[in-house]
């Protein structure tokens, strides 16, 4: 059962980071792709530019594998796609799987996108409604708009909740709470 998503350009995925709620953990992981065109690979997927993108170059489903060194708590996965620019390359159905390794993945979420322009944030929750803890995440692009063969994805972010210790809210206490 797929959740429907319509991307909105207004969704500010960076707001929570600024406020210290979430943190991007993609840097702590190893990224690999099932296939890519030369010059349109992981580098372009992970840079901070909306103009560069990953273009796949093989059979569907196209996979993005993200492997962490240690079990990481994942709050959500954010994907930036642009229907206006990519048309038939824009992903339509995306499955997000998690597990310990390639042979141990189970599907956590399946989403359906409808002409998305901008960021999509897919929260990953386990059975109890808490963020999942996993070694590996696989984003599988099952189909594209207009039945396109290859796909373009411009940016992907993986976010993890920041350590949930009690934090002071007032400046006076914050000032004195640590030595820097």
């Amino acid at each position: 059962m797929a959740t429907k998503f319509t991307a909105s350009q207004e969704l500010d995925v960076f707001k929570d980071e600024k406020e210290g709620l979430y943190r991007e953990v993609g840097n702590q992981a190893v990224w690999s792709l099932s296939s890519c065109k030369a010059g349109f690979g992981v580098e372009q997927l992970r840079d901070d530019s909306y103009d560069s993108y990953w273009q796949s170059d093989g059979p569907q489903p196209h996979l993005v594998n993200i492997q962490f060194r240690r079990k990481t708590t994942i709050q959500d996965v954010c994907i930036y796609t642009d229907y206006k620019a990519d048309e038939s390359y824009t992903p339509n159905r995306v499955s997000i799987r998690a597990g310990s390794h390639f042979n141990d993945l189970f599907e956590v979420e399946q989403i359906e996108l409808n002409e998305p322009i901008g960021w999509i944030s897919v929260p990953l929750k386990d059975g109890n409604g808490r963020p999942i803890r996993t070694f590996m995440i696989q984003i599988a692009i099952l189909s594209n708009h207009q039945n396109g063969r290859d796909t373009h994805v411009r940016r992907i972010k993986i976010r993890s909740p920041v350590n949930k210790a009690l934090k002071f809210t007032s400046l006076e206490c914050l000032m004195r709470s640590n030595i820097r």
Partner: protein, 824 residues
């Protein structure tokens, strides 16, 4: 051989005028013509001063370094080029070559010994040989008490040094020794070096306010003379060029004077001593008569005002002091006695200072004999001196009074690039003209000597005060340090360095507002100040002043982009914006720029903690500790990591280590308390927190943690007390109300609990602490469902930015809601 080559003179001239291109070019030609040690030294110096230490290093590596000066320069360039081991091998020998003892080093390097020891101290401290480093620093200070960096090094190593011993303010008692030495000086060239302390040593508890002039300056000269194993001419040949602005004759004279090397450390700006600078200083100073660093000239007119400004700490550099032997210790104040003393004792004087006597006399232009040697000194002090001396002669019976207040002392003091003895006499020279009762037959050189002594006394007493204060700061007795620093004379206090130390003291006390004020003052007075600015940036980080922080970072970047302070400030700026990746980049840059800047490592470690890369963070903190073992922030950082990893025992060990270094830090005590509680040692935790509260009553965290622990131990009443107090101190902290809510819940005061929880939620608009909401739900799950619903509804509706009034009103509404429900 006497230094008489015009080429060498020209090179030194170019160097003195910062014309490195010409200097290097000429030096290279000279080296090609005459391959001697002098020319090699000249060339290497040119490279080094032009900011190319690596070239100097390679050159000397190539050509060898037989003389001590060359060795020293080679070691210095090794240090700059990063080859510490070679530097050490050259200076002190290492395991492979026979290591030299300190005395051997002293003999070998003579005048340079103080600097050699200074460098060795730095080298040893970099390589963790603390004891040797301490010994070297101490030795260098003994030889030359004006080397502040040695003192700083000692403090940084955690050594307890007594500034009174290190910066001995001279008194009269040593005049005897002095005179004898002066006589000796001219006869014997090869006596073993006598450290200054030896000569200054009968410093019997001299209060800083009375630097009764010992012939300290002469003492030093003599020391220099005595300690130089070099044939005099060679020394002078090396020294004179510094000062010689192209006058060949002077160089000749210089060679005659067993040119002692004046305390070069004082020379910061190698400008030809131009008098013009001073007058404005004096004028500006108004009240404060400087105790060192004023040219006689300029102050001649202000002589009277100076005289009138008798401040407490006066010393009459009585000529009596000069005059040794006799009486005079009491007499000094009375002009008459002084005069008589002078008259009496003047006789022997001229003989002992035969040679210098000539030149010094000639310093006074009014005796218009002009042998070539005079020309130089007259050029240097010429117009000023003459008038001043004349003035002096005219003014009778004005007590010579100077206050130990330095005036731009540092600047003018540094015009001491004299090599010739006569110049070096006036070395510390540009001393205040004292409106002393001059007697017609008063020899000018006595005057000069006195002035020099005054100047020396002045700087030493200033260094002593600074030493006490800096030492206090190094031990983290911050209040004491602040008091000591603020008791300095205002014109010294308002300098960048002092203000930054005061700022740092406040910073260590976690009084960030005060610290900020001080740092702001620095930027007003000295916008070019960089040292200590990284602490300012962290202060702003704590205060979360984003705009100021980014403007500081920009300003520092403008001044010097490649300084570790600027990089740290920028890193802090990004860290405040929570862009930790970029902050990491900048802190890495700071480390690259200066490998030994411990604070950069610490800050980088903290950033890694934020990005939860604890292994990298640990590595950074450990590097910081490696660079500077007394960097308590790094120890704290290690403890913090263990705390996050819940290894409480290890965390406690590291926090305690940090505490040992910085015993007055209440934040550290708080953390230790928390860790103890986590290890179930709650009583110990409580007592630690009590200590913390006692140390710093203004720190709310101690109380908060204490309340938490009391609550955990079920001592609800006491917890409530603490929290109520806290509420009064910090009314807007959400966690206080959260804890209050929990306490009340435990006590069964449901309504109060609810009130507090709602306040807590109100005060936390961003929902940073989701646990509050969760715990409210949890706690009331069993109970009134309606109440819960109403609570969450009202919460959703009422989440406002905190204003206690509004939250009070909300609480009332909710109270009513709950009550009405319960009534049902």
């Amino acid at each position: 051989m006497l230094l008489h080559e015009p080429v060498q003179a020209a090179v030194w001239d170019a160097l003195n005028h910062y014309n490195y291109r010409d200097a290097t070019f000429l030096a290279e030609r000279l080296c090609a013509e005459v391959s001697s040690d002098e020319s090699l030294l000249l060339l290497a110096t040119c490279y080094f001063r032009a900011g190319k230490p690596k070239q100097a290093y390679k050159l000397l590596q190539n050509k060898g370094y037989p003389t001590p000066e060359l060795k020293f320069l080679y070691a210095k360039s090794c240090l700059e080029a990063g080859c510490c081991s070679e530097a050490e091998a050259v200076l002190a020998g290492n395991i492979l070559t026979r290591p030299k003892t300190m005395d051997e080093i002293e003999i070998e390097f003579g005048n340079l010994a103080c600097h050699v020891f200074n460098m060795l101290g730095a080298l040893y401290s970099l390589t963790e040989r603390t004891q040797k480093s301490v010994d070297c620093y101490r030795r260098s200070l003994k030889l030359n008490p004006l080397l502040w960096s040695s003192f700083e090094g000692l403090c940084k190593l955690g050594e307890k040094v007594d500034p009174a011993n290190v910066f001995p303010v001279p008194n009269q008692a040593c005049t005897n020794m002095v005179l004898q030495n002066t006589k000796l000086a001219h006869t014997v060239q090869n006596t073993p070096p006598i450290p200054i302390t030896g000569l200054l040593s009968p410093v019997v508890d001299v209060p800083t306010s009375q630097p009764n002039v010992c012939n300290a300056l002469f003492v030093e000269q003599n020391v220099d003379l005595l300690s130089s194993p070099e044939p005099g001419p060679l020394l002078s040949s090396q020294h004179t060029p510094d000062n010689c602005v192209g006058n060949v004759h002077d160089q000749i004279m210089g060679s005659i004077m067993l040119g002692p090397r004046p305390l070069r450390s004082v020379k910061k700006y190698k400008s030809t001593p131009q008098v013009e600078h001073n007058p404005p200083l004096n004028v500006l100073l108004g009240q404060y008569s400087p105790s060192f660093g004023i040219l006689p000239v300029s102050t001649s007119n202000q002589g009277s005002t100076l005289a009138q400004n008798v401040t407490a700490s006066l010393m009459t550099p009585s000529p009596a002091a000069l005059q040794e032997k006799s009486n005079a210790t009491k007499a000094p104040r009375k002009p008459t006695t002084r005069r008589t003393n002078q008259n009496q004792t003047l006789m022997p004087k001229p003989q002992s200072f035969n040679q210098p006597g000539n030149t010094m006399e000639n310093n006074n232009m009014h005796t218009q004999n002009n042998p070539p040697n005079v020309r130089r000194s007259s050029r240097l002090f010429g117009h000023s001196n003459s008038s001043s001396v004349k003035e002096n002669n005219k003014q009778q019976s004005k007590p010579r009074i100077t206050s130990p207040r330095p005036v731009g002392g540092r600047k003018s003091k540094t015009r001491l690039s004299k090599s010739k003895q006569d110049i070096s006499d006036v070395d510390k020279g540009e001393i205040i003209t004292d409106i002393k009762a001059t007697v017609p037959e008063l020899q000018p050189q006595i005057q000069l000597a006195q002035m020099q002594q005054q100047s020396l006394a002045g700087i030493l007493s200033l260094l002593q005060s600074l030493g006490h204060a800096y030492q206090a700061l190094s031990e983290y007795s911050c209040r004491k340090a602040i008091d000591l620093f603020t008791s300095l004379p205002p014109h010294q206090m308002n300098t960048g360095w002092v203000l930054s130390q005061i700022g740092r003291a406040h910073f260590e006390l976690q009084e960030y507002q005060e610290a900020e004020k001080n740092f702001k003052k620095i930027l007003e007075n000295e916008p070019y100040c960089i040292e200590g600015m990284e602490i300012y940036s962290t202060t702003l980080w704590h205060l979360q002043k984003e705009v100021e922080l980014s403007s500081l970072a920009q300003k520092l970047g403008e001044i010097d982009l490649c300084s570790p302070e600027a990089c740290c400030a920028t890193g802090n700026c990004f860290s405040l914006q929570r862009e930790h990746e970029t902050a990491i980049k900048f802190f890495n840059r700071a480390i690259q720029v200066n490998n030994f800047f411990a604070y950069a490592y610490t800050l980088l470690g903290h950033e890694f903690v934020y990005t939860e890369e604890l292994d990298n963070a640990m590595a950074c903190f450990r590097s910081a500790i490696k660079v500077s073992p007394r960097h308590y922030n790094a120890w704290y950082g290690v403890g913090l990591i263990y705390l996050k990893q819940e290894k409480f025992c290890l965390a406690e060990i590291n926090f305690r280590k940090a505490l040992k270094i910085n015993p007055q830090s209440s934040a550290l005590l708080c953390h230790i308390g928390v860790v103890l509680h986590a290890q179930q040692k709650s009583d110990l935790a409580l007592s630690t927190l009590d200590t913390a509260i006692a140390t710093d009553p203004k720190n709310p965290l101690c109380k908060f943690h204490k309340a938490t622990i009391l609550f955990a131990k079920q001592k609800h009443k006491e917890a409530l007390e603490e929290l109520e107090e806290l509420k009064r101190i910090i009314p807007k902290e959400s966690l206080i109300y959260f804890l209050l809510g929990r306490v009340h819940k435990k006590l069964g005061n449901t309504d109060l609990a609810l009130t507090n929880f709602s306040w807590a939620m109100d005060l936390d608009p961003k929902g940073v602490n989701n646990q509050i909401k969760e715990s409210i739900e949890k706690r009331f799950n069993m109970e009134d469902d309606d109440a819960l619903v109403r609570l969450s509804e009202s919460d959703n509706g009422d989440v406002l930015p905190s204003g206690s009034n509004s939250s009070l009103m909300d609480a009332d509404d909710m109270l009513q809601a709950v009550e009405s429900d319960e009534s049902l």
